[in-house]
Symmetry: C3
Subunit: 348 residues, 3 copies
């Protein structure tokens, strides 16, 4: 773990209803959180799921978060803390750790930040070293730009955005509130539109923008292209992992999740609550219905109805895909059976 | 859209042969371009394809570009502009918009640019904030380096290159004229060559370069590795999308197109006019013939003849691939039919 | 090639046992290394593999490295250098070229580097322009940070790390000795962990770190996420190519190789000496046994035993995969044969 806690801090955060055991006299710190069977003597662990109950007596952790009805005693130098919901108690500890890992930087503009004329800066901003803000760009209240961020001319960030180093927002693009851009993420790259003319590709100008709605997160080194015209849009609450590509004019709904290395070609529409697993690829101009789940490495070449779960390339309903995978593996048997039939009939 | 146009500006750019309708008294601006069925009351739209003619009467756009022979009348507050070719008229408007979206920055070297001794800078350069130019690097006339660009020692950029923020050109690499590198693109990364020796990987030095010929474009966060020796080469007019990987010693021909997340392993040759769709992957040391088209997510493990269109992993001619996909889906039926035959003959 | 050598330099590096031929009077330089059939008149070439012996007489190279027993004579203006092992002689030449291509920069801290209070800097460091080092970060002796590097608070780099431009190490992450991070590589991005709560994704804090052991290399624009808690770990000597994704809590063993655009979902374990080919994707929570080889575009959805070689999506043993690929291509024939059987029996 990234941060050490003293026993007193843990007690304050966990607020156990009772405890058992004693950690000895030395002033104690835990320096990690780990699963029951992986924890070492300076780690805290927890029983989050009853099926691991048998692992509690063997854990080496010095502190164990347990449900109120757990029946057992700690080893020497180990403390049991009993709480209503060990997972919730752990979550409080993790949230506190996260706040220490990435404390909110104090407001201020680093002297190396270059801010063009006409940029409008909200209150309580943190703009770190070597950021470049273009003309007439707008940064909402409470935004954090860590370092090396480039905000294009006329771009407009909502309140409380957090941009990790090197995240970039292109000209005229807009973000809602609480948007988070991970390291190297690009919002508003040029669209990839070409037409062949006289033996060479000629650029189709890409003059639209990208809009990220509230609470969108874009992963490290992912790229979201601006629209040919109008808008590439990512709906409220959608979370995008690392190295994902979103083509021009895609419309991604609310509360979607796009796992690493997945990609959307141009103009594809994801309705709300769609999930793309890792390395899934979708052709352009498709519509993926609400809540559809697209499996890992899936190749989608046609529309998918709401709620469907698909797999394979090209994509098939998951049940069909699994059935066909099983039958494919029985092809050697099938060839043999057909050969036997032919032999039986003297046909070969 | 990223830029507003007044009605007078649109008239000047579109140069209609005649018009119909009236937008009312207020000084008017359009602020978007959109398809007939998606346009709002401040958008301009166009009839680019006759098959959408029926959508014209219902469009909400305030300006509609129409072919000369279109027969109909505008709504109140709507204007029809009649031109020979609505798509061409739109293209002029888009090109003008693009020039406003990304105006050519004025020449000059930002005071924070760090330029090593021996670097030779052409005329009319724009070098933006926080660029780093290595020793003896050459920047051709008219190059634009927007920000955070790193040009390695002895690298040589041709005239009128445009590097978006963070684009990087490695040591000794060369580009032709009018090359465009999108955000975070890397030209001339280290090649990935290793040999196993004594239980550990030992680096095979990668001492070649990358050459991009005229009018090449490299997408955001894409990576092109330098050759083991001699040259990784991207031919004239080839366009590379985002998150594409080009391995060491690849020779990509002229006017190829490589769509997002596709990848080439080392030493593969693409002849001219090859197209790779999204997430296609090619093994090393292959030759892909002129004009071949490699489908999305295709896995290519052997040479592909000129003009071939392939799909699937491993790649098959597209007609074969589609036929096999169809037959694969009929496997349950085939198993049943074989079972019936066996039953009929009392074999099972 | 990136560097010219004089004939005298080549002789010194190659140390031939004998030579044949004469390059004429002019002071001579070679400016490239190339294969026998590709070399031009200013290139050096070599006979590394006996199967290319027939190409020696036709090569245009001015210098040819040959095994001691090669029987032949050079053309006019060509020199044969006879050595015990031409490949080893070439390797010395390449290593020397690499040292010229990427000479070790001299120690020193560029005045534009921003170093936070509490950072501890080792001896003989090179910190280039526009680097940002966080509070209490530690840089081991001999580290090279080329430019635009961001080292997070409390991160700790071992000795002799080499960070190419824009490589980034997140807060609290740690590296061993001789780690190399290519351009734009990210070590210690936020993990991608979410739980759906009340119709929206809620972040699961990712409070662990990343540890890279000695001699790890991470490719350009690749991303390695920090652990949910505890550690995402990359074992000693493992080499990672460009655009690779490593999810939170993965444990990658020693001397693994991960080729470009491959990806690991969270918590997957690679034992030592595992190889992932390009675009391979592995689901989460898997264990891949020692020395297993995962083929290109392979989709791995379950554990793989040590030493296995797998292909296809979902992954199958390579022999099975090839057999099934062959049978799949014979499906049209099989359908026909079953039809014939049915016709023969009057069943259809």
């Amino acid at each position: 773990m990234t941060i050490a806690f003293t026993f007193a801090e843990i007690l304050a955060l966990v607020a156990p209803e009772r405890s058992l055991g004693c950690m000895g006299e030395a002033p104690m710190e835990i320096t990690g959180i780990a699963a029951l069977d992986q924890a070492g003597p300076r780690d805290l662990t927890f029983l989050g799921n009853r099926k691991y109950t048998a692992q509690v007596p063997g854990t080496k952790a010095c502190i164990v978060l347990l449900p109120l009805d757990y029946d057992g005693v700690p080893r020497d130098g180990q403390v049991f803390l009993f709480v209503k919901d060990p997972s919730h108690a752990l979550a409080r500890l993790c949230a506190q750790t996260e706040a220490r890992l990435w404390p909110r930087p104090s407001p201020g503009i680093h002297p190396t930040a270059i801010i063009a004329p006409g940029a409008r800066l909200g209150a309580n901003l943190h703009v770190g070293p070597y950021c470049v803000i273009g003309e007439n760009a707008v940064l909402g209240d409470g935004c954090i730009l860590e370092a090396f961020n480039h905000i294009g001319r006329e771009a407009k960030l909502g309140a409380d955005n957090w941009l990790k180093p090197r995240a970039t927002v292109g000209e005229y693009c807009e973000t809602g509130a609480r948007v988070k851009l991970q390291v190297g993420a690009l919002v508003g790259g040029d669209g990839f539109g070409w037409e062949m003319a006289g033996g060479a590709y000629k650029k189709i100008p890409q003059i639209g923008t990208v809009v990220l709605e509230d609470d969108v997160e874009v992963g490290a080194n992912s790229t979201i292209d601006r629209a040919r015209f109008s808008t590439t849009r990512i709906g409220e609450g959608t979370k995008i992992d690392n190295l994902v590509q979103i083509g021009h004019n895609c419309l991604v709904g609310r509360h979607c999740i796009l796992v690493s290395q997945s990609g959307l070609a141009g103009s594809t529409v994801l309705e709300d609550y769609v999930a793309l697993a890792g390395q899934a690829g979708l052709a352009g101009h498709l519509r993926i219905g609400k809540g559809a789940q697209i499996g890992a490495q899936c190749g989608v070449m046609s529309d998918i109805p709401a709620g469907a779960v698909v797999l394979d390339s090209p994509a098939l309903p998951v049940k069909t895909a699994f059935r066909l995978m099983a039958l494919k593996q029985r092809l050697p048997e099938l060839f043999k059976r057909v050969g036997n039939l032919e032999a039986h009939l003297g046909l070969k």
